[in-house]
Every structure is written in structure tokens, then in C-alpha cells.
Subunit: 122 residues, 2 copies
Amino acid sequence: MLNVGFQIYAELYDCNPKKLSNVEDVRQIFLDAIIESKLTVLKECFHQFNPHGVTGNLILSESHANIHTWPEHSYVSVDIFTCDGEGEEKSKKAIQMLKERFGAKRIHIKEFHRGIIPKAKE
Amino acid sequence: MLNVGFQIYAELYDCNPKKLSNVEDVRQIFLDAIIESKLTVLKECFHQFNPHGVTGNLILSESHANIHTWPEHSYVSVDIFTCDGEGEEKSKKAIQMLKERFGAKRIHIKEFHRGIIPKAKE
């Protein structure tokens, strides 16, 4: 059996809420972490919620990355889905950068293999 | 404690590969299922991979939805993240529609609560 993809969910708690409110701040931190981790951004889409909070979706050549921020809870959720051999390592590097740059004091991570495919179909 | 969000991921196996190759086909099926499930699309972003396969990201007022298709494996991955009270029910309805419309013979679902926040911070 083969796994098509690797996915990581990260919960970033006790972040600096000042960094979570504005779409331009969140976009820059998110893009920098993804690109510095050698993941490849093909398309991006961000949205500013009112009164605060940001959602961002990136289409990667490796699959996708999502971010949501809740400044009122000092909380950020991040998902990264990759389907190349180095995706796991790159995703974990990106999560660590985001932890540092949002000033998260606690982080909780879940990891998954996505798409279990018989080898005969490869 | 409160959960900020509810996330569901679905593995759709043994789909009709003819429905998975082209970005316009995948986009229409995905948007229809999301909108008919009463989720609210704010922004959309899709990408056609070569030689085949599609990635789509939707920013929802409830959070986000992602899709990836692998026609060569007859496999589709879907993630839906919501943060309103009816999000769980709406997400499950959308997944069932996608199962039917992609002709999936097998489906595997996992559900998660995202962002565990102390009530005092509400």
C-alpha cells in the first residue's frame, strides 16, 4: 500500500494577538514560513474577517496549506497537506517557524497519512 | 472548555476517474455540494495540474474547504473546517453529496474538534 499524502494539523495557542488581526501581517508571516520551508506556492487566497481574524488558503505544488486566526482567543490553526517525499519534513519546519513568529507558547500537532492506495494501481 | 472549530476529512475511493481530471468539472461538483449544504463561499481558488488532477480551496464564512483529485488513483481527498454550530451537520451533508457525485464506492471519514479554548476567554 502507498500513501498519497501527508497532512499535519497544528493548534498554536497563546500567540501574540497583535499578530493575528490583520490580513497583511498574517499573509506575510504565513507565506514567509511556507516559502522558507521550500514548499512551492502556486496560488493564494486570503480574507479579512470583521471585526478581526484572518483566513488564508495556499495552493501548493505539493497540495495545500490553510491558516485561520482568532485574535480573541490568541489561537491559530494551521493545516498543511503535502504529497511529495520531503513534504513531512518541510511541513514540520513551516509549523515551527509559525510557532516562533506568532509567539505561540503552546502547540499541539496531529499527523495523518492520506489516501491509502494499493501498490498495483501505482 | 470550548472548541473553536469542527473539521472533517474524507477519503473518497474508487471514484469515477473521468470526473476527477478537469478543473471545471471538479469545481462545479465541489461548489454545488458546498452551496447546497448551506455553507457560504466567500472566495475560491482552483488549479489544474498536468497531466491531470485538480486542487481547489474555498474560503467559507464558516472557515474553509479543500479538495484534491488523483484520477490515476480514482481518489479524492476533502477537508471541511467549520466554526458555526451547524457546521458539523452541513459538512457531513456536503461529503455525502461529493461521494455520490464522484461515484465513490468507498469512503473513509475522520472528525476532529479544533482549538480547545478555556471558557473564561470567551
